[in-house]
């Protein structure tokens, strides 16, 4: 008799248990959303833990900065940032001060000008400042596809061996700087 009763109770409790589990799950997602550790639209890069794809890109026409190739990203003096950007990209403007700050700290930033016209790209840099150590042009956006880029701005942190450790699709804001970029640069220094 008590066995049947116990089972009743268990069955009654089951939906509550499911609701509780779902609640905990949602709570975890929401708190992750708040502190930035969970991004429902974020997509992990297929290149994490791997070296960048093979490529060789020319400089932006009219720029004094040289272009670069995958070989230039191997054996770096310190962890570096690779940044895909364009002058027509509004979030790139939001991100720009953070790149300038990184540059001021001596972090090497390799810029790739994505589907942009050279004069526009250069005008953007002369107006807002040039954070780049090198600047390559990818007008057709084909090297970007090899990196798995799906929108600008997109940034990658490479460790000193040139292995990709982090990818972020979207503008690097002050929060992203403090929570992700700086700790990662320190860890791989």
């Amino acid at each position: 008799m008590s066995g049947v009763l116990n089972r009743r109770r268990l069955l009654l409790a089951a939906p509550l248990g499911v609701a509780a589990a779902a609640g905990v799950g949602f709570w975890a997602m929401l708190s992750g959303l708040q502190d930035g550790s969970f991004n429902p639209r974020g997509v992990p890069s297929a290149l994490l833990g791997r070296p960048p794809p093979d490529f060789a890109l020319p400089p932006v026409e009219g720029s004094t900065l040289p272009g670069f190739a995958s070989a230039d990203l191997r054996g770096l003096e310190r962890p570096s940032l690779v940044n895909f950007w364009a002058s027509w990209c509004v979030p790139c403007i939001i991100e720009h001060p953070q790149l300038m700050a990184l540059r001021a700290e001596g972090v090497p930033i390799f810029g790739i000008s994505y589907k942009d016209r050279a004069p526009d790209a250069l005008q953007f840099l002369s107006r807002r400042g040039d954070p780049f150590l090198r600047l390559a042009a990818d007008p057709p956006g084909r090297v970007a596809i090899d990196w798995g880029v799906y929108g600008v701005p997109e940034s990658y942190i490479l460790d000193r061996q040139g292995i990709i450790r982090w990818r972020y699709a979207g503008p690097i804001t002050a929060d992203i700087m403090n929570e992700d970029v700086k700790p990662l640069l320190r860890r791989h220094a």
């Binding site: 639209r41 997509v43 297929a46 057709p140 596809i145 090899d146 990196w147 798995g148 799906y150 929108g151």
Partner: protein, 144 residues
């Protein structure tokens, strides 16, 4: 008739304008490209395949697929090309791996759970047999 001819040519012209980079002239190869493209996610709009999307990147990827086919890749190699660059997320039908095992197994798990529940219900169906006391009760009532 002569007057109508230019109009008859119009659809063809429209098609030609559409053709250049992201459509193949060979209908069989184009059909293959489209069937691959329908299973490739547009990373920008995320809910659409690249065949359905107007996004810039979708057009580039349609072009990439057709270029790979033109150099002789088979369908699997084309998908592999994209998968190597963009990961599982680009395939609308994600491949089976350790990370996606739960995703794929969920329908089977749900079915098994249902089976177990149904069987247990069947087994426990029917009230418990009457005790001797309960069997005697109606007779007692009738005698009154």
């Amino acid at each position: 008739m002569r007057l109508l001819l230019p109009f008859a040519l119009l659809p063809g012209l429209a098609l030609a304008a559409f053709l250049p980079a992201d459509r193949l002239a060979d209908p069989a190869a184009e059909a293959r490209a489209q069937s691959i493209g329908r299973e490739v996610r547009c990373m920008v709009c995320q809910g659409q395949s690249i065949e359905d999307s107007d996004a810039d990147l979708a057009r580039d990827l349609r072009r990439v697929i057709r270029e790979r086919l033109a150099v002789g890749d088979d369908d699997g190699a084309v998908r592999g090309f994209l998968h190597n660059r963009y990961g599982d997320f680009i395939l609308l039908r994600p491949p089976f791996s350790l990370a996606t095992a739960l995703l794929w197994a969920t329908p089977a798990l749900a079915f098994l759970l249902g089976l177990v529940l149904v069987r247990r219900r069947r087994q426990s169906a029917g009230p418990a047999p009457l005790t001797a006391e309960e069997q005697a009760r109606p007779e007692q009532l009738a005698r009154r």
